[in-house]
Symmetry: C2
Subunit: 408 residues, 2 copies
């Protein structure tokens, strides 16, 4: 991709009402644009990051047997009356023809439960797991954390349905492992800890995945030995590490980047979704839900991986791997850089090529640091004299010369 | 994919209020499920088709220089007041915190215009084209055509911005050619004709792409020589083929599967989006918009490509290429079919494997016809005796035996 042709530009500053680092850097880098508080446009660079995060999550959800579906945003308010959730504060309401009352789904239990019910005829169809990657809508009173807390935001939500509690427990463990894999691939593995949080009527605890980070809104108590956390909301009830009993816990701030929850039969019962067991007896269907917000993950990555010059994307989610920069006034330099760009691209590498003639080297370097791709390659008259490019990892202090012939 | 594990099942009938062929077959085949009138859930088979359609469109829009972005659903009602479109009947309205008035975007001119304005600093930045693939919301009074006309539906919308009219005209021609490529790749090339339709203040005509089909809602007058149509709405003003002057036009029904429109400066003017030319003079920015609805295309494909047994998907958008069916009671047959499945899949083929033990051959054949994948492969004791599978194209009358060794 030629930087000169890419839609979206870097800027030196953002409006003063952007408090969060993620919004500041993502806006300045040309990744997102704010439509209004809690609602963002994704520009090409930002959309590439979002898609990479989504694909990692998609692969891991498919690997544990999740079937991908796509549910709508608009749903009958009636479905929320069925579950008693029509009075939730965060619901956006709208009206269809003849005053029909609709809700913009803030989560999809009210859609997925009757949907799965429709296609489940016997215990042979269970267990079953479906997921989607779709937008959610929540009328948050405050939306000041950039893309960490949006009124419109992206979500992967998986739902599992089971013939009994053992089956739910078994799948819940499998999902937990898949979540750890996702965070490892996102570059957040070391910082993201399984955290015990409040459960519900059905189970004592739910689990969150908290990425330790000073700007996090949540407070967790960490067992440093087991890398397991306890959310402050339950620390009164659970004062020691649930795994090793350690009481010497360390208070930390975390960003909730995922949560998994045993819902029990709360929703299946509400919709009268039961199955007949082998003996013809009606049985309840316990259910689990498993959420990760790709847009929130993207914001978290910025909060965690940045320095004072800009973002430092992990390779797995960087919009491109290489930031190729051509310097100087000579057309020959740009022609050589163009060759390198084409060779790298043909070899399958993802390259952003800063081919601008009308800006200084300083501006190009500042933009490369702000955008934060893993590797910066500089081509100039000087490097070409050595048949080389200058190679610098975004987090490296020093650059080195690499022969062009070794690059491809 | 194992059919036994796929979420979504075929059914023999649908509720009587489904009038359209596309909804009937898509629901019966387990591709979509109706949430409410005009709002659908996409099940795994349907989502695969939708994604393939989207990817073909994405590739062709990228090929003409479109940069992919993602705009939100929620937008300030104020933006629609700016353009005078806040009174459109089809708008869904909702309220944010403190009664802030939001609209669910039915199209995105009110979002994309100020967005592009923000990143356009001079004539050097023009022309510029951005597109997205996103859901639209329109409060249609009637929504009875399945996924052809939804209240929530999927859309690819590209917008182009230009320094002058010549540039717009030039890009408009390029986009027109790209649209023809899209329909050709979707299998709709021969049936889809460029159709002149009413323009606006800025240009005499807009252009639709109409897929000729008896159930279409539109009436077009076709020049059979040029394969160009005139929408009935303008036939009073344009009584002959705009290309060859032929007046011997044939009345046809069509489904509008795309439209392209020169918007002129209607939206850029409303937002005060101008640029300074080389001489420092302020200039207006003409704009074009180019829409294709992937969900509508999917419905059109069903309307066009079906027989009395079910769908007949073109290979480019079929959810899988092969429908592998194992027959009989012998486990050995299923074990052999499993081997074939694994070999095909490892070779990169997309295979749906009907591995069900508990249904008859008749049910499996009926499901294969209903789902409509391009090639059905049958494995039975009889075919295995000849080291073969039975190969049948979905549209073929006859099956043939193919050696397993020749298959891979």
């Amino acid at each position: 991709m030629y930087y000169s042709k890419l839609f979206g530009k870097t800027s030196k500053s953002v409006s003063a009402d952007e408090e969060s680092i993620n919004a500041q850097y993502l806006i300045r880098g040309g990744f997102v644009n704010k439509q209004m508080a809690g609602v963002y446009n994704y520009l090409p660079l930002g959309l590439r990051v979002l898609n990479k995060i989504q694909n990692i999550i998609r692969e891991e959800m498919t690997a544990i047997g999740g079937d991908e579906i796509l549910m709508p945003t608009l749903t009958q308010e009636e479905s929320y009356k069925t579950t008693g959730r029509d009075t939730m504060d965060v619901l956006f309401h709208t009206e269809g023809p003849s005053g029909a009352k609709y809700v913009l789904n803030p989560t999809h239990e009210e859609v997925v439960t009757p949907l799965v019910q429709k296609y489940t005829f016997s215990y042979n169809d269970l267990p079953l797991a479906v997921f989607q990657i779709q937008n959610k809508y929540r009328n948050e009173p405050r939306a000041k954390s950039g893309i960490l807390r949006g009124r419109e935001f992206n979500m992967k939500d998986l739902y599992s349905f089971h013939a009994n509690e053992e089956s739910l427990n078994e799948f819940y463990e499998v999902a937990q492992k898949a979540y750890h894999k996702v965070y490892a691939r996102l570059g957040l593995g070391d910082l993201t800890i399984l955290t015990y949080a409040s459960g519900g009527a059905f189970s004592r605890y739910s689990h969150e995945f908290q990425t330790l980070c000073d700007v996090g809104e949540d407070t967790v108590y960490l067992c440093e030995k087991c890398r397991i956390g306890i959310n402050k909301e339950i620390i009164q009830d659970q004062t020691s590490c649930p795994q090793c009993g350690n009481v010497d816990l360390v208070e930390k701030k975390g960003i909730e980047v995922g949560n998994i929850f045993k819902l029990g039969t709360r929703f299946t019962d509400a919709f009268g979704f039961k199955f007949l067991d082998a003996s013809g007896k009606e049985q309840a269907i316990p259910m689990g839900c498993y959420g990760i917000g790709p847009s929130r993950v993207m914001g978290t990555l910025v909060e965690v991986f940045h320095d004072d010059k800009g973002m430092v994307w992990p390779e797995s989610v960087a919009p491109f791997k290489y930031h190729l920069v051509a310097l100087g006034k000579e057309e020959e330099t740009y022609a050589e850089a163009e060759k390198i760009y084409k060779n790298l691209t043909s070899a399958g590498a993802e390259v952003l090529f800063d081919d601008r003639r009308d800006v200084t080297a300083g501006v190009k370097f500042a933009d490369a640091d702000l955008i934060g791709l893993p590797i910066r390659l500089v081509v100039s008259k000087k490097t070409l004299a050595e048949n080389s490019v200058e190679w610098k990892g975004r987090a490296d202090a020093e650059a080195k010369l690499v022969k062009i012939s070794d690059l491809i």
